[in-house]
């Protein structure tokens, strides 16, 4: 393993400290328990809090700021944060209108946020994201995983919350975006959890993992390496089979890198996916390409399609000012 590390046990705090220092105009870091909040507490809005294991940067801390999150709770690498973090974060950012947790659907995250919700002295609700269509037969599993589509949910809900909308409305929009969003990923290499020091899974030079999760968990199957168009065709087919969009539907296309795949290749994937979506009669009116939900040092990418409507498009377009997403109207 070759990584920029001083002491593996200090990795998380040193990284969080660097993040907070680099974006001191936007965020504030709190340690023990670890959570990050907006620099200036927002008033008179539902507090939007997310969190999850580290290793997916910029998810979630990179989305703290105007128009998205009020706070994020980073766990250890690929490990859910614990309830004390969520309670402390909620205490810090609650502004009298309740707390909405945005949680990726993994057993650990769900349990920890659930215990926090049970102990929280404020009105609260939870949006579970579950956009990964790679997980089949979801009645027999923990269910679909939350992956890169989570960014779209956080953007839309964060935007709505800035308007002063109430908790129920924020929760409803989050659930709606989640239900209209589907993703699937592919890995070309494993990732290496720093504390483990070895790749999470073995993969041959000529293999790929179709439907991989963002922790290096397996997907649908191991396959032989093929050209990009063939890989994209499988990913897009799985996504469209799930969403079943009518021709003419307006969509947001997100090509998300897992961190070790160059932007050059991500744009190639965009080119390939866009052609396929257009051939199905879909209108790609919004796009995002880059490393937005990563998996440590994994090479690979995921494709996310979100079916837009006027409300979601409006909340996607609205101004946002965070470390990882920043635009004016």
């Amino acid at each position: 393993m070759k990584k920029f590390i001083n002491n593996v046990d200090d990795l998380l705090v040193e990284s969080l400290s660097g993040f907070a220092a680099a974006h001191a105009d936007l965020v504030e870091l709190h340690l023990e328990p670890h959570f990050i909040t907006r620099k200036n507490k927002a008033e008179n809005k539902v507090a939007i809090i997310s969190g999850g294991g580290s290793g997916h940067e910029p998810l979630h801390s990179g989305y703290i700021g105007y128009g998205m999150l009020d706070a994020a709770c980073p766990g250890y690498v690929f490990t859910s944060p614990s309830p004390d973090q969520m309670l402390a974060a909620a205490e810090a950012v609650h502004a009298g209108k309740g707390v909405l947790f945005i949680v990726k659907n993994y057993a650990g995250d769900v349990m920890n946020f659930e215990m926090a919700a049970e102990m929280l002295p404020f009105d609260n609700a939870t949006v579970l994201t579950s956009d990964d269509v790679a997980v089949e037969n979801s009645t027999y599993t923990t269910g679909r995983r939350g992956v890169a589509g989570t960014v779209i949910v956080e953007k839309a809900v964060g935007s709505l919350a800035e308007t002063g909308a109430d908790l129920a409305a924020c929760k409803a929009l989050g659930d709606k975006v989640n239900s209209r969003t589907a993703s699937m990923g592919v890995a070309l290499t494993s990732c290496t959890v720093p504390a483990a020091g070895r790749p999470t899974f073995d993969m041959g030079e000529l293999e790929l993992e179709m439907g991989v999760g963002i922790h290096g968990e397996p997907g649908r199957r191991r396959e032989s390496m093929r050209n990009a168009d063939a890989i994209v065709a499988d990913l897009v087919a799985a996504i469209l089979e799930d969403l079943k969009p009518a021709r003419g539907t307006e969509v947001l296309l997100l090509i998300n890198g897992f961190a070790a795949t160059p932007l050059m290749e991500l744009y190639l994937l965009y080119n390939s996916a866009a052609k396929l979506l257009q051939a199905q009669g879909l209108v790609i009116s919004r796009s995002l390409v880059g490393n937005y939900t990563t998996a440590l040092d994994m090479a690979g990418a995921s494709i996310t399609v979100c079916l837009l409507d006027d409300e979601i498009r409006q909340h996607w377009d609205s101004p946002v000012h965070t470390a990882a997403l920043r635009w004016q109207r």
């Binding site: 859910s80 650990g108 349990m111 089949e136 995983r145 483990a196 290096g216």
Partner: protein, 211 residues
């Protein structure tokens, strides 16, 4: 349960977990995401650091503080599950004097039930419950029959071992391994194995107290 025994068990369990590093890591790499050992190690270290704080306390308070500490240091799925186990044991200690073996068996059963509820899981899903449930059943059954202590402890170790081994042929329906489908067959569940190690170690320690 006595505070002294709980603390002694904490120390020996920590050693047992540490010496299973490579095995737990390879099990978790096979069907999980490779962090199970690291998380347990962090939890054990946090508990050991509380040793002096815990030693003057009553068992109920010791178990409650251990549960809260595990909840805040392990994270992941193991954190809330192990914490739920300890906090339910603490509740049993608080509400009644858990002194006879039958009392311990019923407190153990209640704790396993609480873990089932928290994890929304049951036997046969390739999780720690495949170790814990058979142990709870054996415990309750044998204490009702007033079995010799040494035989009881050995039976608990066997139940844990068999339960852990039974996960090898299972398809996981809970946790990270569930995403593997049939590819999880042939691998023991790391959570079932770590739970078995903990139970085995505590039973060994208890055997030394019988003589």
């Amino acid at each position: 349960m006595k505070t002294l025994f709980i603390l002694e068990a904490m120390t020996t369990v920590n050693q047992a977990i540490l010496s299973s590093e490579s095995e737990l890591e390879s099990l978790d790499r096979a069907i999980g995401d490779g962090d199970h050992f690291i998380n347990l190690k962090r939890g054990c270290a946090a508990l050991l650091a509380m040793h002096d704080e815990l030693s003057p306390l009553a068992p109920a308070e010791v178990l409650q503080r251990m549960g809260m500490k595990l909840l805040s240091t392990i994270g992941g799925a193991s954190g809330p599950l192990l914490a739920t186990f300890f906090m339910t044991l603490a509740k049993a200690e608080k509400t009644s004097d858990v002194s006879t073996l039958a009392d311990i068996a019923s407190a153990f059963q209640a704790s396993v039930d609480a873990v089932k509820q928290r994890g929304k899981a049951d036997r046969g899903e390739k999780t720690m419950l495949d170790t814990l449930i058979p142990v709870a059943e054996t415990f309750t059954q044998l204490t009702q029959q007033d079995t010799d202590r040494l035989l009881l402890l050995t039976a608990l170790q066997q139940a844990a071992e068999q339960g852990m081994q039974s996960t090898r042929e299972m398809i996981a329906t809970k946790g990270r391994a569930s995403f593997l489908g049939e590819r999880a067959i042939g691998h023991i569940d790391p959570g079932a194995r770590s739970s078995q190690i903990i139970i085995h170690t505590i039973c060994e320690l208890a055997k030394t107290k019988i003589a």
